[in-house]
């Protein structure tokens, strides 16, 4: 699916200058760019939270018509509801007992068994982002938007969240799924080269604002073999660094 020629300005500030990306079904499309380059705006346009300057074309309309889950920069949990209630929140179409079982299964899978009754202020930053991840994978969706959800977490926590993400994305979809099966189509925005090298199947390197696509590279290492210890991953990481540094 090709999302093409997206322009967006906020007042006189030009943010996106004719950006086009290909989104492959069931793959992770990573968008790597400097902070404030407009990559989050592109994500929000794809998700339908922001309108582009020109009317959305057929493929953008099609992308938007699919059910989508979100992982934001912040966990965005309701502070007055427990972890389990936060996950159940997005399962409004299910019967109450199904909601409870889906929520508890997903909390188990993100490594938070026994924490369902805790309130967000009682949890650490990493645990809160895990709850957000449980909520996101509890929601039946074909598309997943990730807006720097690993930002500000330490490396160890980040790597374990990557593992959780991989195991959740490649498992059976939850009951009540709207027909999409298998891994979700992921659009992943980040400014962290390592994150892009570890998670992105296709990586787009963006220029500083106004954002344009500088490079598109495919990850030579299959998802399940990617690890920091893998030399091929490190080579790919080096290649991405090279692209960013030669941008001038």
């Amino acid at each position: 699916m090709r999302i093409s020629g997206i322009h967006k300005s906020f007042g006189t500030l030009k943010v996106l200058d004719g950006v086009s990306i290909d989104v492959t079904e069931g793959m992770v499309t990573a968008i790597l760019g400097p902070s404030g380059c407009g990559k989050t705006t592109l994500l929000r346009i794809c998700a339908g939270l922001v309108e582009p300057d020109q009317a959305p074309d057929a493929s953008l309309v099609q992308l938007r018509s699919q059910r989508a889950a979100f992982l934001f920069q912040e966990p965005r949990l309701l502070p007055w509801d427990t972890a389990a209630e936060n996950v159940e929140l997005v399962l409004q179409d299910l019967a109450p007992q199904d909601r409870r079982s889906v929520a508890s299964r997903l909390l188990d899978e993100v490594g938070l068994s026994g924490y369902g009754g805790y309130y967000p202020p009682e949890l650490s930053g990493g645990m809160k982002q895990r709850v957000a991840m449980a909520r996101c994978f509890a929601y039946p969706a074909a598309v997943l938007y990730m807006d720097e959800p690993f930002q500000g977490l330490d490396l160890e926590l980040k790597l374990s969240l990557f593992d959780t993400f991989r195991s959740l994305n490649f498992q059976e979809p939850p009951p009540g799924d709207t027909g999409a099966s298998g891994p979700r189509t992921v659009i992943f925005v980040t400014h962290d080269v390592t994150e892009a090298a570890l998670l992105g199947d296709h990586v787009y390197v963006f220029s500083p604002r106004p954002a344009t696509v500088r490079h598109r590279v495919d990850n030579p290492v299959p998802m399940n073999e990617r690890a920091l210890q893998n030399a091929a991953v490190r080579d790919f990481e080096g290649q991405l660094y090279g692209m960013i540094l030669t941008q001038g």
């Binding site: 939270l49 059910r67 979100f70 934001f72 912040e74 309701l78 007055w80 509801d81 929140l89 409004q92």
Partner: protein, 271 residues
């Protein structure tokens, strides 16, 4: 009951547990009350003129005397009824107006001149005008309503505006239903503001009601009794009725929080 925190005042001989900290808090509170009473007693002795400053014990006796009068409950009840009427009307209309102001800039701009006008008008002007317009018993209710309405409206509006936009965006991203957004995001975010608005308004209500009663002189009311006592230069009685007003404000505040705990406790249990 308020809890006091005195960091650094820990005595190594006293274990710093929750119980002891709490007990120490109550002790300091009680000591503070005793010191205030002693200062009052000392000044009364120094001045030695009951018409200027009666002693605490004299006021306590006076309090017993007015409480045993047949009209006491009638006066107290009349003030309570007026306060409740003014507060309930202001709470209802202020809450609705606050929601509207918080959600819509248009409504905000439309109501702003009125609210600013009410807030800037001296209480005494409102009372005097109300005296011209209404019967005596209605004056305090009208004045209390007018004085507390802006407080409630502005606080509720602020609460609505402080709703976390990140959470609202999350609710849109996950296509949450309107009703879910209202009950799970808006109401929990706004309720602390509503509670503080009601608490402030309740305290304000008694002061305004009594001030209006002093001037409008309805047949029964704490304000009426205060004014009569003043005219008769019964200073101890002025103090005694003031004590009744203070106790009334304290009791209503306590009742409000008790009610609140009962309501929120029940809600937590059913979810």
């Amino acid at each position: 009951m308020k809890r006091f925190h005195f960091p650094g005042s820990a005595d190594p001989a006293v274990p710093d547990t929750f119980f002891y900290r709490r007990a120490r808090g109550y002790l300091i509170f009680a000591l503070s009350v005793i010191v205030l009473l002693l200062v009052w007693q000392f000044l009364a002795r120094l001045i030695h003129l009951e018409i200027i400053l009666p002693t605490p014990s004299r006021v306590l006796r006076e309090l017993g005397q007015i409480a045993s009068q047949p009209d006491f409950l009638h006066s107290l009840g009349s003030t309570v009824a007026r306060g409740a009427a003014g507060f309930l009307v202001a709470a209802g209309t202020g809450f609705v107006a606050g929601l509207a102001v918080g959600l819509s800039r248009g409504v905000e701009n439309a109501l702003k001149p009125l609210i600013t006008l009410i807030q800037a008008t001296p209480v005494m002007s409102v009372i005097l005008l109300a005296l011209i317009w209404f019967r005596t018993g209605g004056v305090p209710i009208f004045v209390a309503f007018l004085m507390t309405f802006p407080v409630i409206t502005l606080n509720v509006a602020r609460g609505v505006r402080e709703v976390d936009t990140h959470l609202l965006e999350m609710s849109r991203a996950y296509h949450l239903r309107r009703r879910t957004v209202l009950t799970r995001i808006y109401i929990p975010s706004v309720s602390p503001y509503v509670i503080s608005a009601f608490s402030i308004a309740l305290g304000l209500t008694w002061k305004v009601i009594i001030a209006a009663e002093v001037l409008s002189q309805p047949p029964f009311g704490i304000g009426t009794q205060l004014q009569e006592a003043r005219v008769e230069l019964e200073t101890a009685r002025v103090f005694a009725w003031t004590a009744v007003a203070v106790l009334l404000a304290g009791a209503s505040d306590g009742l409000f929080y008790l009610l609140l705990r009962a309501v929120t406790g029940k809600r937590k249990a059913t979810v």
